[in-house]
């Protein structure tokens, strides 16, 4: 059942992003930033966790899940450390993703020549 919801919710988030891009003629970066901030705010309101429980990867994989992960990391570190947590928490959960993107990007650039 989670598979169905992952497909439907994940697809719906992407379709919504596409609609906003087309309607307001926005470049993708605006929509990606908007989704990330939305995910961060929903995380602060405690609404993203239920969505994750419900839609699984459908909420985890879209970029709003990235905003959620940043905020969730900050909140848990704030709970643990106080002020310091505001500055240490952002990469608590996302560090793995950012680091792997940099490493894989570097490796891909090394093995492949520039295209065209």
């Amino acid at each position: 059942m989670t598979y169905l919801w992952a497909f439907l919710i994940g697809g719906a988030i992407c379709a919504l992003a596409q609609l906003i891009m087309d309607l307001f003629k926005l470049p993708p970066a605006y929509v990606l930033v908007g989704l990330t901030v939305t995910g961060a705010i929903l995380a602060g309101l405690g609404l993203y966790q239920p969505l994750l429980q419900f839609a699984g990867a459908g909420a985890l994989i879209p970029v709003c899940g990235f905003g959620n992960a940043i905020t969730t990391g900050i909140l848990s570190e704030v709970k643990r450390l106080g002020w310091e947590g505001l500055f240490t928490g952002a990469f608590e959960l996302t560090g793995l993703g950012v680091t792997s993107a940099v490493v894989f990007g570097f490796l891909a650039a090394l093995v492949s020549g520039p295209r065209r």
């Binding site: 992407c14 379709a15 459908g58 970029v63 940043i70 900050i74 490796l107």
Partner: protein, 153 residues
Amino acid sequence: MDPKEAAKQKEYRDLVKAMEPRPSFLRNMLLAFLVGGAICLLGQFVFDFFKGLERTEAEASAITLAAMIFLGAIATGLGVYDELGELGGAGAAVPITGFSNSIVSAAMEFKREGLILGMGCKMFTIAGPVLVYGILSGFLVGLVKGVLLGYFR
């Protein structure tokens, strides 16, 4: 303006209108839905695979994201992801694989401008705003929530 000229201009305008690609909102949305949904479905399979191996759900989520980033990097290296992006639009850009694609393709493209000033500077050209505003909004949410719940003493 003489009527002949005006008629000619109108004819031209009609022609331009007919030739212009019509924005097909529904078609774009459907494609974004299918491509994005399929990537999330794949992510769910990956997540369920790692849930059996990792101790907590948070760890399984983190590994799933890294695995999807890896898959996105491979697909980008093979040139497959760019075609997926042409087809799916936001459906390919919004999932974390699109984040990976933006970093990997920038790294590949700007390598020829040098490893430091090319690749180093421009790797995050597209992914940068997501990081900057993600961190800023997370910081603000943490600040507000920390003050409200009295975590700062």
